[in-house]
């Protein structure tokens, strides 16, 4: 054995050094890791919070269907912005074409749709607007806003979920709701699915003897503009004033010989 081996073989690590080293190697949360821990917590909170916001912004909180004859559905998120647009007939496709509705506030989207329908010659004043939200407050808010935008439209609000049932027939919830009212008097849903809104309203009138008005059918609450039949006061020229009859209270003007049809707007009460 050479002297170099012998010389180095005499060197040993002391027990004290081993113990000190072992203590230093004990796994523990050291101060230097605290910034990393804080950063990790922040990332976690951001992730969780971000997921919440993402969920709120992509999950449907309300649905508005607009039926003139073009039948369009707007799906809204919790922030009342449009997350998707459904078209239920060819006319709707034509209207929506060229409109950029996604991400818009619902009131702006409704404005855009009505403007486009006007340009295409549809009578938006006869629109049936159906709102189905996940809370009464949300329904109310959307209802009040749209009512200001189009006071003559017929608004109905529901907390019941008609959308899913309507989807089975590929029609808008608003149309589905009207058909549901009709089938109470006769026929089946399938018979009416392909009819236009105007035709359905006419059928409804024939059955009930009164024009279709969402005000009559609100299940939860019914602030809305309503069409009322009115008695006209003839003055020879056919202009008259009429008082709203039905659930809607409104003043209207009528054309005719004494008996006229008046259009009125007013707040209806829950039936």
């Amino acid at each position: 054995m050479n002297k170099i081996y012998k010389a180095f073989d005499e060197i040993h690590a002391s027990e004290d050094l081993k113990t000190k080293t072992l203590n230093r190697c004990k796994p523990k949360v050291r101060m230097k890791y605290i910034p990393q821990l804080v950063a990790a917590c922040l990332v976690l909170f951001t992730f969780v919070g971000g997921t919440g916001i993402f969920h709120a912004s992509t999950t449907e909180a309300a649905y508005i269907s607009l039926d003139v004859n073009p039948s369009i559905g707007l799906s809204l998120n919790q922030f009342k912005r449009v997350i998707s647009v459904d078209t239920y007939n060819d006319d709707a496709v034509e209207v929506v074409e060229g409109l950029d509705l996604k991400g818009k506030k619902y009131s702006d989207a409704v404005d855009d749709i009505f403007e486009a329908e006007n340009l295409l010659g549809y009578d938006v004043s006869a629109a049936e607007i159906y709102i189905e939200g996940n809370s009464e407050n949300l329904n109310q808010e959307i209802n009040d806003t749209i009512k200001l935008q189009c006071p003559n439209a017929n608004l109905t609000c529901h907390n019941v979920n008609n959308k899913e049932k309507a989807m089975e027939y590929n029609i808008s919830p608003g149309k589905y709701y009207l058909i549901e009212q009709i089938v109470q008097y006769g026929g089946t849903i399938d018979e009416y699915v392909d009819k236009s809104m105007n035709e359905l309203k006419e059928i409804y009138s024939q059955y009930t003897g009164e024009s279709y008005s969402g005000n009559h059918h609100n299940e939860e609450h019914g602030n809305g503009a309503g069409n009322g039949t009115g008695l006209g006061m003839g003055n020879g020229t056919g202009n008259g004033t009429g008082a709203g009859n039905g659930s809607g209270n409104g003043a209207g003007s009528g054309m005719g010989n004494g008996n006229g049809t008046g259009q009125g707007s007013g707040h209806g009460k829950k039936q």
Partner: protein
């Protein structure tokens, strides 16, 4: 991250080896102990999976040598003078070989490490070349020059 049991086992197994290399390369006991602890800290946090014991030992030796080299990048350590002979040496009835250790320590850094690895750890020049990531011919050159220097310092019989 290694477990506490694994660390305990590794410290017991390689403490002397690490301590010898630290002794060989460091100029004082304080720095030597510092490097010693850092080697095992690094083992705890960064050690890869080893193929076998030889692989593990080679990793420990290489890390120790590298940490010693790195420590000399520090100005204060580079300029601190040699203090001591290690405490854990020699009972009186043995031949005092401190002059041999001192002679090896005086060799240039690369030379003293290859001498230690060759004569104490019994690695071949090829193994040393792979351990230190150097050309094998370089190792032969270093070994040969280091042996000559030691013979000049200590006499011809030192390596026998």
């Amino acid at each position: 991250m290694k477990t506490h049991e694994e660390i305990t086992q590794v410290i017991n197994k390689y403490a002397d080896t690490v301590n010898r290399i630290c002794y060989l390369n460091m100029k004082n006991q304080y720095d030597s102990e510092d490097i010693f602890q850092n080697v095992f800290l690094r083992y705890m946090t960064k050690a890869p999976k080893f193929k076998d014991d030889n692989h593990e030992k080679a990793w420990i030796i290489r890390v120790t040598i590298n940490l010693c080299k790195d420590s000399f990048k520090n100005f204060f350590r580079r300029n601190t003078s040699t203090l001591d002979e290690v405490k854990e040496i020699a009972s009186n009835d043995k031949e005092d070989l401190s002059y041999v250790r001192e002679a090896v320590k005086k060799l240039p850094e690369n030379y003293r490490n290859v001498i230690y690895l060759f004569y104490y750890e019994q690695y071949s020049a090829v193994e040393i070349s792979s351990l230190l990531h150097k050309n094998v011919n370089t190792i032969y050159t270093w070994l040969s020059r280091a042996k000559d220097m030691l013979k000049d310092e200590l006499g011809g019989d030192i390596l026998e």
